[in-house]
Amino acid sequence: MKGQLILIPGRSAKQGVGLNKGKLKDEYQKVTTTLEVSFEDAARMGLETGDHVKISNNIGETNVTVKALREGKIPEGYAFIPYGPPSSCLFDGETCGTGMPASKGMTIDVEFIKKGEKKKTKLPPRTAAG
């Protein structure tokens, strides 16, 4: 159960709330280690919400938990993770003369580690509108 995705880290409201509670606390750690992928990619790689995977590139690697999203929420082939230490360890320091590292759009390898401990959340039925 392996695959490649393009990672788009970004902000989320839960990450902002967790940040205010404290970056060293569980809530922030949990939010920033949740990898959102499309339902199609999860199915292709045999992954379900709650599964633990290793994501890596030529810069670093980190372990995260998968969350499969409904159709249309994220394009197939892409993954989203809230900003935080896990996403940072995959950023390259090269800024192409701008000061800004390429923090969105890096290719990552996704490798299954183990099944999630919690009961899987069933995805809502698909509708024509997605």
Binding site: A13, K21, P85, S88, D92, M100, P101, S103
Partner: protein, 456 residues
């Protein structure tokens, strides 16, 4: 003021009207805080969004030392002396952050680095730094959020997710408020969202455009060409993921509105193309002024990151990435920006103010800043991975909750803060003023030629 709590005990309560939330760049200054003055906590934050509520309600006075050196508690003055010694003795000291503190504290920073012949950089360099570079290339068709509220009938968000990052942006400034020339709120506006993901923001859109990742520049350039009379190409969908008819319709709506605005986020500045993406967007907004009134603005993130850029710009002439090693300010992103100076292993001392590079920077930069090659000094209000890794760590009080001062909203409008209650921790202004004096004294001892320069 006293009040009776639910369990019938008298609570020493204080109400703070029109308090400012400094969590994000919206800097909403209409929050009503209820403060339990005995426990020193905010118990209610009326009108705040989910982020604002968590900002105010999770603020507690922590039981921890004001200053530490190598993990050991020390008096504040000792920590300041040690920090000044590290900075003045360093060969390539850097100062980074400043986005979560008041302008009055930010003013102390450039003089410190000038005396140390060091480099000053704000969190802008890993946020809208590329937009800052683009401003210098193509200009900024600017406005205030008040103008947007009262006039804008075409509102677009590009590469950002304000529903999660700036939750009150819609209700307070751009989408639903009833303005002077938009009396029916959202009914008088066309709201367009352009993003690679179908985010929560997409829910408010009249038109949602799911652009192919990394193809924003192509779409922007097509729209720019359309302004000059060039037809949208037939293979538009193949290029950017959106069909020709939709892009043509979008262009017509842009052209025919009365007052158009595009807010853009880090979807543009952090992806391939960086400042070219921001530049293309601002050039498009400028081009659209051939047809109507059109403006653009970056949706800035942290509370006072806009203030940091303004303060550093008025003191040095440049907004971020400024180096003083030759005795005068030089600006060069890529050379003097913090990710670069750390990744290349150049910085041997780092003063980090109100920010957390150890959590947010690329791995090679984190590896260097946490190594023995770089002495790390942290001034922050909370425990963070950076404050925990620092050799000298100083805890300060929180701006907007414990201390007053001035912040700049994302549209460069200055706002005065109304603090809720005191803190036992010193303010950033107090710590940085002391550090500035100490560094200056050491610089004069070393006969540094610019140590007598006057700063505004």
């Amino acid at each position: 003021m006293s009040a009776v709590s639910k369990d019938n005990t008298i609570v020493n309560e204080k109400i703070v009207e029109n308090a400012t939330c400094t969590f994000c760049g919206c800097c909403c200054d209409d929050i009503t805080l209820t403060v339990d003055m005995d426990k020193k906590v905010v118990t209610k934050a009326k009108d705040a969004c989910v982020l604002g509520k968590s900002w105010f309600l999770n603020h507690v006075i922590e039981d921890k030392p004001i200053a530490r050196i190598a993990g050991k508690e020390v008096p504040l003055d000792d920590a300041i002396d040690e920090a000044a010694k590290i900075l003045i003795e360093a060969k390539f000291p850097i100062l980074y952050g400043m986005s979560d503190t008041i302008c009055e504290a930010q003013r102390q920073c450039a003089p410190i680095m000038d005396d140390c012949l060091g480099t000053i950089d704000t969190t802008t360099s890993v946020c809208h730094g590329p937009s800052g570079m683009a401003f210098q290339g193509v200009g900024e068709p600017s406005m205030t959020l008040g103008e947007v509220k009262n006039r804008a009938d075409f509102v677009m968000y590009w590469g950002g997710n304000p529903a999660e990052a700036h939750p009150r942006h819609f209700a307070r400034y751009a989408v639903t408020p009833e303005g002077m020339f938009t009396p029916n709120g959202k009914d008088d506006r066309t709201v367009v969202i352009c993003d690679v993901r179908h985010t929560k923001t997409a829910g408010v859109a009249d038109i949602f455009l799911q652009v192919k990742p990394g193809k924003d520049f192509e779409l922007l350039w097509m729209l720019r060409a359309a302004c000059k009379g060039v037809e949208i190409p037939d293979n538009c969908k193949e290029i950017c993921g959106i069909d020709k008819e939709t892009v043509t319709d979008l262009f017509e709506k842009m052209k025919n509105c009365t007052y158009g605005v595009i807010f853009f986020g880090m979807g543009l500045t952090m992806s391939r193309g960086r400042h070219f993406n921001s530049g293309a967007l601002m050039a498009l907004a400028t081009d659209l002024n051939e047809f109507t009134h059109f403006v653009a603005k970056p949706a800035r993130g942290h509370g006072n990151v806009t203030g940091a850029d303004n303060v550093v710009a008025w003191q040095t002439g440049y907004p971020f990435g400024v180096n003083f090693s030759r005795g005068h300010p030089r600006f060069n992103p890529g050379e003097f920006t913090t990710v670069d100076t750390l990744t290349r292993g150049e910085a041997d001392a780092a003063l980090i103010i109100a920010s957390d590079p150890v959590a947010n920077f690329p791995k090679p930069a984190i590896d260097h800043i946490t190594s023995e090659k770089c002495k790390l000094i942290s001034i922050d209000t909370k425990n963070t991975p950076t404050s925990e890794a620092a050799h000298v760590s100083i805890q300060t009080s929180t701006y907007g909750i414990n201390t007053g001062g001035t912040v700049y909203r994302m549209d460069d409008v200055p706002i005065s803060l109304r603090p809720a209650f005191d803190s036992p921790f010193p303010s950033d202004l107090e710590v940085l003023t002391k550090l500035r004096k100490k560094v200056n004294k050491l610089a004069k001892k070393l006969n540094r030629p610019y140590a007598t320069k006057k700063y505004i």
